[in-house]
């Protein structure tokens, strides 16, 4: 269990950090309560309705698709850096990976998940 001492240290630091910051700001800041300060923050504009609103599941779909393609670049980047060492093997593996993504993309497209009416 000796190897885990740094992790314990990290946990302690992570706990101590917000505690210190909160106490410090509590001691230093001026305390002027104001009704406006309790409002929901929305880019500085006064909010007009409740924040809990139903919105289309399409946003969710688009977000998931964005995530998929975003993560794809995370995989592509280390491959690009190690391209010379991995040579043909890396190209084949990456080709398989990209083809799978392509098929997934074709599937959601043909299912009409990308149409926005």
């Amino acid at each position: 269990m000796q190897g885990y001492a740094p992790i314990l240290l990290l946990v302690l630091v992570a706990i101590a950090m917000p505690v210190i910051v909160w106490t410090l700001s509590r001691l230093v800041r001026p305390n002027v309560p104001n009704a406006n300060k309790y409002m929901v923050y929305e880019c500085g504009i006064t909010p007009t309705t409740d924040a809990r609103e139903k919105f289309s599941v399409r946003y969710y779909l688009i977000a998931v698709m964005f995530l998929v393609f975003d993560v794809e670049t995370v995989f592509l980047y280390p491959w690009a850096v190690q391209f010379k060492e991995l040579a043909l093997f890396g190209l084949v593996e990456m080709g398989i990976f990209l083809f799978l993504l392509l098929f997934g993309y074709g599937y959601i497209w043909s299912k009409g998940a990308l149409t926005w009416e």
């Binding site: 991995l86 040579a87 043909l88 093997f89 084949v92 098929f103 599937y107 299912k111």
Partner: protein
């Protein structure tokens, strides 16, 4: 090209022969979704069923032709155990596709996704049968399970299907977490050196002497996680609900194919990775097996729904099969044999339930009243399957049980075999209850002008084949046993691989 990459490339080309069936399944499944889906228009999707059937038969042939050996840096292994259980999984999928047709056509729920999901989950099962490393084991287990979560909730307009799917998903995800935690503890116990089953099998007995708690906790968590997957008591709570809510063909699928693959994994994990620490898991596994037999059979007695009855009976049968897991390498073939006979009886019984369900009955046990007058053949076949499930000689179910119990006795599990024997007698009570309904109770009066519906082709074929196999299967016992003998040789092979 440098040495490192060309070595990897060579290994990839060489080893891909081992996973050819899975590559074929997953590749064609992907192609089916796109662009294959554009091939058949709406209302023609039922044409995917014969395509899927053909794919499954080709995969069955490919499995027979796969060379034996270990590949992918000791992640995947093909041997008798792998092939034997892979064949059972493929047969289960084939049966499920055949039985699905009527229900899906009647509900107008034919989609390409249904078949693609079966193919994907099957490729997970095939991987699981041959996984000899905790990493590949976990990945294939999840591939299998996630596809089945979706299939359980496939009829998404029916509330109880969605409920069953959600329940199954939540408990399945929870058990996966436990399993993964157990694996990580075992990995830590080996000093973070290996996740390979065979290497762990050598390291763990040494480590467990100084680090008993870590190894013990890891082993127990792996046992609990796997127990959830095969629905053994006390980790069975999801199974009756999931079985009842799922579309009935999927229930038949769940009771056979994933169970076969999970049992293969069970045998692999406990006989290759953890045999050296048997004192840690033998007793808990014995309790789990005994509890499954007792609770499965006792709870089945008061069930009103046929699907729930079969669900509890499958819990009990898992208890018997865990007995085989405890018996070492020789137990593997007994387990395989039991699973093979269970697959046949179970599909026969489910084929009949599905047929009756199509006419609006079959869900409740009362619906079987007077079946002998309406469908004499179906009633006879159902009686054969139920008696075989109860293990009455000379049916094939008796043969499977006899062989398994005999194996367990020679291994010294006398108490467990006694419990197994007594609970088999209990099980005869509720199986015979259904037979009683079919033969000695009067049928409810048919509505004016209603004719008992003729059996479809898929049902007739499956019921006939299963019935013949159950009746005459014991005659084929000897060649089957000899063939199954190759399944138990796994231990020798793994030692060769280590050298």
């Amino acid at each position: 090209m440098n040495g490192f990459a060309s070595g990897l490339m060579e290994a990839l080309l060489r080893d891909s022969a081992f996973i050819l069936p899975q590559l074929f399944l997953a590749g064609l499944g992907t192609l089916m979704l796109w662009p294959g889906d554009l091939l058949f228009h709406k209302g023609e999707k039922h044409k995917w069923a014969p395509v899927t059937g053909a794919i499954l038969i080709v995969v069955l042939a490919l499995v027979f032709r796969t060379p034996e050996g270990t590949g992918f840096s000791g992640m995947y292994r093909v041997d008798g155990l792998t092939k034997g259980f892979q064949i059972l999984s493929i047969l289960g999928a084939l049966g499920a596709v055949a039985l699905s047709q009527r229900l899906l056509n009647a509900l107008k729920e034919q989609t390409v996704e249904y078949y693609a999901l079966i193919l994907f989950s099957l490729s997970g099962m095939l991987f699981l049968c041959g996984a000899v490393d905790f990493v590949s084991f976990y990945f294939s287990l999840e591939l299998m399970a996630i596809c089945i979560y979706i299939l359980v909730a496939y009829l998404r307009k029916q509330e109880r299907g969605v409920e069953a799917g959600l329940k199954y998903f939540l408990l399945g995800a929870f058990s996966s977490g436990l399993l993964l935690y157990g694996i990580s503890l075992l990995f830590a116990a080996t000093g973070g050196k290996t996740t390979n089953f065979a290497e762990m099998g050598q390291l763990l007995p040494v480590v467990s002497q100084s680090n008993t708690l870590l190894v013990g906790a890891g082993v127990l968590m792996v046992l609990v996680g796997l127990g959830f997957k095969v629905a053994a008591v006390p980790f069975h709570m999801w199974s009756p609900d999931a079985y009842e809510g799922a579309p009935t063909p999927i229930t038949a699928f769940m009771a056979t194919a994933p169970k076969a693959a999970s049992l293969a994994a069970f045998i692999r994990v406990f006989q290759t990775a953890l045999p050296g620490v048997a004192d840690q898991w033998m007793l808990p596994l014995g309790y789990v097996a005994a509890a499954s037999m007792i609770l499965g059979n006792v709870a089945a007695i008061k069930q009103q729904s046929m699907k729930r009855l079969l669900a509890y009976s499958s819990i009990a049968h898992v208890g018997y099969m865990l007995l085989g897991v405890m018996c070492g390498p020789e137990g593997a073939q007994a387990t395989w044999l039991y699973m093979a006979t269970y697959l046949v009886m179970n599909f026969g019984a489910f084929a009949i339930v599905i047929h009756l369900q199509g006419t609006g009955e079959g869900e409740r046990i009362e619906d079987f009243r007077g079946l002998k007058d309406r469908h004499p053949f179906l009633a006879f076949a159902m009686m054969v399957f139920l008696l075989s499930l109860a293990g009455i000689p000379p049916l094939v179910g008796f043969f499977g049980k006899f062989y398994l119990f005999q194996m367990a006795v020679t291994q010294g599990h006398i108490t467990l075999v006694t419990i197994a024997f007594l609970t088999s007698v209990v099980s005869a009570f509720y199986y015979l209850g259904v037979v009683n309904q079919m033969y000695f109770k009067d049928a409810p009066a048919l509505a004016e002008g209603a004719e008992p519906e003729a059996t479809g082709m898929a049902t007739t074929v499956i019921v006939t084949v299963a019935c013949v196999l159950v009746l005459l299967g014991t005659g084929f016992a000897k060649p089957l046993l000899e063939w199954a003998g190759g399944i138990g040789s796994e231990k020798k092979a793994s030692q060769v691989a280590l050298r």
